[in-house]
Subunit: 270 residues, 2 copies
């Protein structure tokens, strides 16, 4: 198997750092790409962030994150759509390859999962013209089914690909091994994903996992056969390296410099 | 929508009770069916358990649980198969409608998920003749994908139905709403499940969920639209009522009598 492509650092992995700190550390560690979260960009201001990233010569593999469309009322849904339009503009401004788009969870007190999925679909249709106009790919990211109630009614790669096929140009998939590794239908869906992968995220599934959101492992710490999934992604046309995105209370408690070293060491497990 | 059929009490819901205590409480509360775990049966002895259940006139909707086939070496896999043969004999002895069969997790230190799924498949083929001879349906229970690493490489209803189709007579599905509610392919798979549902388990998905195994809610405490899934099951031919199976550190800390009252009250949410 070939080695994994270059690392992109998702800023949530070192979430106590500001954008300038991330940029400085990437330069020192030889990391040439990042994927920032919106709050990190907004904290320094959009124009300043765009200039800092450009001046550093960093590739931007994505902006995290848009989506989260379902809401209990029409005003909430309209607000989500407006916020996504701002996110698309931000992604364009910083030269991001894509805007990572999450499904969002059930509206408060709702048990209507099909209804929430329809709200997600309507939201995507609403923002697609903006994304196309800005040249920003909407990278639909299915999240692990354990997040269905409160974070993502977009649960499987197959479901995300169905949406891509419906929406057409301007959409793609953000594939995170953590969210799809368990899927018995993965190999077949990865064939369907040909030409549609817009981001490839890595972390690992620890045994045991003690939190449904914030207990991800560094690649190598868990049981996911990351190279096997990467090989499927590459067969599907992906050539963009590995974005390391670790949501972890344990790693967040470490010195970010130690995290940077661990990120680089984890490349061998990708 | 019609009301849910009669309750069956899965003994794990009141796990501090012995089988005689469960039987006595069911009589007092007007519950006419149970689904015991093997340790509860074994604690009083198989013959005594069978007689007590028979004398009480209780229906046995299932025996929990067989399966768990993947193992790191051939001896471990053979031991699992032998244990499943004993479980089939126990299910037959207590007159259970089915043996609930779990996939089992990855073997220790393994990242080979396809390999573990093949071990599961081979284990099922190995015990199928015993199940057929005993007249015990193997009820394949897909578990939530969050249990894939350590409990169940059988992750979706679609995957379980593929196995049923391959294995044929003597197999069916144990459908637990907790494990399948999130599935975007659920409606389609429930049509495939016609005539194959051998058990219908209920509990609820709480928001937030704080433990990957032991934080299930009583029906009504969470976000699962249980009546909608029950309607799909009934359209697929299920007429067997609702088995209440709550794995919950919180409910286990309650007085089992209070749990019994909550189980009965939860019927309105099924």
């Amino acid at each position: 198997m070939t080695a994994a492509g270059p690392i992109s650092l998702n800023t949530i992995t070192v979430k106590t750092w500001t954008l300038p700190q991330v940029i400085e550390a990437c330069a020192r560690h030889g990391i040439r790409a990042i994927s920032p979260w919106r709050d990190v960009v907004q904290a320094v201001g959009l124009d300043a962030a765009a200039k800092q990233i450009r001046d550093a010569g960093l590739k931007v593999t994505g902006l995290c994150r848009g989506g989260m469309f379902p809401a209990a009322d029409a005003a909430g849904r309209a607000a989500a759509i407006e916020d996504n339009r701002r996110a698309i503009a931000e992604a364009h401004a910083i030269g991001a390859d894509c805007l990572v788009v999450l499904g969002g969870g059930l509206p408060k007190a709702s048990k209507d999962l099909p209804g929430a999925r329809e709200m997600m679909r309507e939201g995507l249709h609403a923002i697609l013209p903006d994304a196309r106009a800005a040249g920003v790919t909407l990278a639909l990211e299915p999240l692990h089914p354990m997040t269905c109630a409160d974070r993502s009614v977009l649960s499987t790669l197959g479901q995300a690909l169905d949406l891509c096929e419906e929406l057409g140009a301007g959409t793609g998939i953000a594939l995170d091994v953590y969210h799809v590794w368990w899927d018995p239908d993965l190999a077949r869906q990865m064939q369907r994903a040909k030409g549609r992968i817009a981001g490839f995220h890595v972390c690992d599934w620890k045994v045991p996992t003690t939190d449904l959101v914030f207990d991800r492992g560094m690649p190598g710490e868990g049981v996911i056969d990351i190279p096997a999934i990467r090989a499927m992604a590459e067969t599907a046309g992906w050539q963009g390296g590995v974005e390391v995105e670790i949501l972890s209370n344990r790693w967040w408690a470490e010195d970010p410099e130690a995290v940077m070293r661990a990120v680089k060491a984890s490349h061998a497990f990708c």
